[in-house]
């Protein structure tokens, strides 16, 4: 029992100062992930080399792909005198050796704390000619003691949107699609949906073919995927923006609207039936197309599967944790399946989460939910001890609880460090949802098989 110290939540002394087994990681990881979704972009970590090394490892452990990023390699000196010299020297080296199109600089706790002003240093870099002709630099402050990895993702996305899109007089018949933090396969699925709807779109970021790149026998520092610079530039002339995921994309969508007068519709990440409905409608409306029959056929297939499965879901209790953009629509979907989310936890702070959860779970007396610093795995474990659940859904960190409490566990979200293949199968859109719901049902039914008495063990279920 690794977590035998956990008690029922009601018996736990009030914790004032402490996060136990955090359910989130820090901002730069998100900034790195977002930057990898831009073609030819090298993320750069402005801080000590440890942070950079951790963040790359974290992404590699999840995506099972090489993750490239450079670091300013702070020394004790830089922490006293500021990191400007390090960053300037770093940029010279990076453009000369690694030849990226774009360097996407993010800060770390350290550079934030000593007060390095990324904007000022980057301007100086440009003024001093450290950024070669035709190459670019973007930057996003990502102090980790504010927000979480999702915040870092949002900040970097905003940085790209502030840098590249240009409004000309020529409107383009296309929409912008800002994606929250999902798997590369999900990004690919979003593009497939756009193609089915005959909508021309620019997806930002786009980690497909970057973090699920095919094996070619070569190491490619910059894989083929990723949103390109011309694509980003053209975003300023799009008809509208659909921003999927409040926490990850809202700031960028607002920035784009302010800058290029491209209006946006905020949706959830399309996980689950209703969220996908809303997403498809938003895209159809903004792109002024009608929803093609093929999409409805996919939806019909999903609904058909749900009717086959519903009997197993009804009344089952579930604990969910992870990033708000992912678990808000997921919670909605699980309620629609007849399940009862009794514990919902997200380490990412932000009032929007509680607002959405109030709306979704307010009528379910058993449901407990919280986000922010105190919303960690320890809290969730306490809640589960008090009100046991039939299923836990979340990232790898839930495996300890699942094992101790002997509860089926579905890995979903970031990071997944102990399974391979999750980055290849989407969970967005109707087909993605079908994939997800099948996995949920598998978990529940495996448990039935595992625990069935011999006389109740059945071939046909």
């Amino acid at each position: 029992m690794l977590l035998r110290h956990t008690q029922k939540a009601s018996e736990t002394i009030e914790r004032k100062a402490l996060t136990v087994n955090p359910a989130k990681t820090c901002q730069p990881v998100g900034a790195m992930y977002a930057a990898l979704g831009v073609h030819g972009c090298l993320p750069h970590s402005h801080g000590s080399q440890g942070c950079c090394s951790y963040h790359r490892s974290a992404l590699t452990r999840h995506y099972k792909e090489p993750v490239m990023a450079s670091t300013s390699s702070f020394t004790e000196g830089s922490s006293v005198f500021g990191g400007q010299a390090n960053l300037l020297q770093a940029l010279t080296n990076i453009y000369a050796i690694y030849e990226p199109e774009i360097v996407a600089v993010h800060s770390t706790c350290l550079s934030e704390t000593i007060g390095d002003d990324l904007g000022q240093i980057c301007s100086k870099a440009v003024a001093d000619g450290k950024v070669p002709e035709g190459k670019h630099i973007v930057y996003a402050p990502t102090p980790s003691y504010v927000g979480s990895h999702v915040t870092g993702y949002a900040n970097m996305l905003k940085a790209f949107v502030e840098k590249f899109p240009i409004k000309t007089d020529e409107k383009k018949r296309q929409i912008n699609l800002l994606s929250g933090w999902v798997e590369p396969s999900d990004m690919r699925e979003l593009k497939r949906i756009m193609a089915m709807m005959d909508v021309k779109s620019v997806l930002l970021p786009d980690t497909s073919d970057v973090l699920d790149a095919p094996m070619t026998g070569e190491f490619q520092m910059y894989p083929n995927g990723g949103t390109t610079i011309p694509e980003m530039v053209s975003m300023g002339d799009s008809m509208a923006t659909v921003a999927a995921g409040w926490f990850a994309t809202r700031d960028a969508a607002i920035a784009l609207e302010n800058q290029c007068k491209v209006k946006f519709t905020q949706t959830d990440i399309p996980v689950g039936l209703k969220a996908t409905d809303r997403f498809i409608q938003a895209v159809a409306k903004e792109a002024r197309v009608s929803v093609p029959e093929s999409i409805n056929v996919e939806r019909g297939r999903l609904v058909d599967a749900l009717t086959d499965m519903q009997q197993y879901f009804y009344g089952k209790k579930v604990a969910i944790y992870g990033d708000p953009d992912n678990i808000i629509p997921l919670t909605e979907f699980l309620i629609d399946l007849g399940m009862i989310p009794t514990a919902v936890v997200s380490g990412t702070p932000g009032k929007e989460f509680m607002k959405r959860m109030d709306a979704l779970l307010g009528d379910i007396p058993e449901a407990r939910y919280l986000n922010g610093a105190q919303a960690d795995m320890f809290l969730m474990h306490g809640w589960i001890k008090e009100n046991p659940v039939d299923l836990i859904i979340g990232n790898t960190y839930g495996k300890y609880i699942a094992r101790d409490e002997n509860i089926p566990f579905l890995r979903y979200g970031f990071p997944i460090l102990d399974r391979i293949g999750h980055s290849y199968f989407p969970t967005v859109g109707y087909m993605g949802t079908l994939n997800l719901v099948t996995k949920i049902l598998d978990k529940l039914m495996d448990k039935i098989d595992e625990t069935a008495l011999e006389e109740k063990f059945e071939l046909v279920m």
Binding site: M1, I13, V20, T25, Y54, K64, T71, S73, Q220
Partner: protein
């Protein structure tokens, strides 16, 4: 190939005669895609296996989250060390200081978990906001009556290697706090093994069979109480990974406990590790028992290795690991199973290490300090290597290049030390080098194998007729 200008002196080729002036121990060049980690990382991985201590990371949440249970270090008792505690510094504390939060956290945790001791790790940010961690530790220590030890591991203070040193300094404060204990004859401490995949248990088994008494294991499967009385042992046996060397030296100066460097990796080194201890105690009996043990082990191991050696003959390996000492052992162990080392490098090696490597390796072997993915992949292609041995960040690169891979770092699941370990190592190298999957990576494009049928469709006989 392109090598960062500042890095020119960190890459060399083994050639007989020429001195190898590798410029190592340098901070990574700014802008490098370095594979290195920080001081905190070094301290944390080294101290973390002390199982019945509380480990609290004073800093922002990230530093803790990345080190939550990433080292596969096993415990035979307490599992407390596997929990991750952090003060999760927020903006408020960054401005007004985090001492209060640290104090409260410590009190709360100690009350709840009743640990034998507590380690408090400083991260970069603590170094900058200037919290007096030591003072807080002293206060809590007094109030709670247990050792609360500050670990001054601000990340920017150097590399992972510097982190080992800091960890040793923290341990040094614990050693010597129990003066009552009496240890039996032939008592040793094992330093520098972290019980990955239970390796330490194998080693202690060997020593016990010889008649040697193991006092403290520092830090694999470590116990606070054992470490307290570690100075009573007659000898420190230090795995020369470098991690615990500093502690051995401190104990020599302070308590006059002699130390001896050993390696448990590969047949010769493992056997020497046993014989050297017997020699130290000048005991004929210990020596005889060690001889017997080695003979027994080799009797089963050597025949078992033969098949792997035959199959692997002529394969080439690229090595990139944390410590150079590990690299040295790996070169030897690979040679034992017929594999030649074509590239070898480390994150933290020193000059002497690289000299040893140069002597050891075949002519033409590329030797490199603090490398990056671009370089590594070019070396691998250039030398036509078949297998890569490295850590988490190297694995996907190896696979992208179509190479077998063996994890010789924190994430390894098999014990690789000792005699059993040698067999495991051979098996692992063999399994990855021989996987049939590589047939697909070598020909990664589909080609139509038959000429496409060019017959026009309307000339085909109509089945309905």
């Amino acid at each position: 190939m392109d090598i960062l200008k500042e890095r020119k002196n960190q890459v060399a080729t083994a050639a007989s005669g020429s001195p190898l002036n590798l410029d190592c121990g340098k901070k990574s060049t700014a802008g490098a895609v370095s594979q290195r980690a920080c001081v905190f990382c070094g301290s944390r991985v080294v101290l973390y296996p002390i199982t019945d201590a509380l480990h609290l990371i004073h800093g922002p949440v990230g530093c803790a989250a990345y080190t939550w249970d990433i080292r596969g270090s096993l415990s035979s008792g307490s599992e407390m060390y596997r929990l991750s505690f952090t003060t999760d510094l927020s903006e408020n504390e960054v401005v007004f200081g985090g001492e209060k939060k640290l104090y409260k956290s410590l009190i709360e945790l100690i009350d709840k978990h009743q640990p034998k001791a507590a380690f408090v790790y400083s991260t970069c940010i603590v170094g900058v906001i200037g919290d007096d961690v030591e003072a807080v530790c002293r206060r809590v220590s007094k109030e709670k009556g247990i050792d609360v030890l500050p670990v001054q591991s601000e990340g920017f203070n150097g590399t992972k290697k510097d982190g080992y040193k800091v960890a040793c300094e923290a341990l040094d404060k614990l050693v010597g706090t129990d003066n009552e204990a009496q240890l039996p004859d032939y008592s040793i401490n094992i330093l520098g093994d972290f019980n990955l995949a239970g390796e330490l248990w194998m080693l202690t088994e060997y020593y016990k069979k010889m008649g040697v008494n193991i006092n403290a294991t520092i830090t694999g499967d470590g116990r606070v109480d054992d470490i307290r009385k570690a100075h009573k042992a007659s000898l420190n046996v230090v795995q020369c990974s470098g991690a615990m060397m500093h502690l051995a030296k401190l104990m020599k100066d302070k308590y006059d406990v002699p130390f001896m460097k050993v390696s448990y990796f590969g047949i010769e080194d493992m056997s020497d590790a046993l014989y050297d201890v017997a020699h130290f105690f000048k005991s004929e009996e210990l020596f005889k028992k060690a001889q017997l043990l080695v003979k027994e082990e080799l009797g089963t191991l050597i025949p078992a290795l033969a098949k792997y050696r035959e199959a692997l003959q002529g394969k080439k390996a690229a090595i990139y690991v944390g410590g150079a000492f590990k690299a040295i052992s790996l070169v030897k162990a690979l040679r034992l199973i017929g594999v030649q080392t074509a590239v070898v490098g480390s994150q933290t090696g020193n000059k002497e290490d690289y000299e040893v490597l140069k002597e050891l390796c075949d002519e033409g072997t590329i030797i490199v300090d603090d490398s990056n993915p671009n370089e590594l992949s070019q070396f691998v292609i250039q030398t036509n290597s078949d297998i890569f041995i490295g850590g988490v960040k190297e694995r996907p690169i190896a696979y992208k290049l179509g190479l077998g891979f063996c994890d010789h770092n924190h994430e390894r699941k098999e014990a690789l030390a000792g005699y059993e370990g040698m067999l495991n190592f051979a098996k692992e190298i063999y399994a990855t080098a021989m996987s049939p999957v590589w047939q697909f990576t070598r020909h990664h494009k589909m080609r139509s194998s038959v000429a496409l049928d060019q017959t026009p469709v309307d000339s085909l006989p109509n089945s309905k007729e």
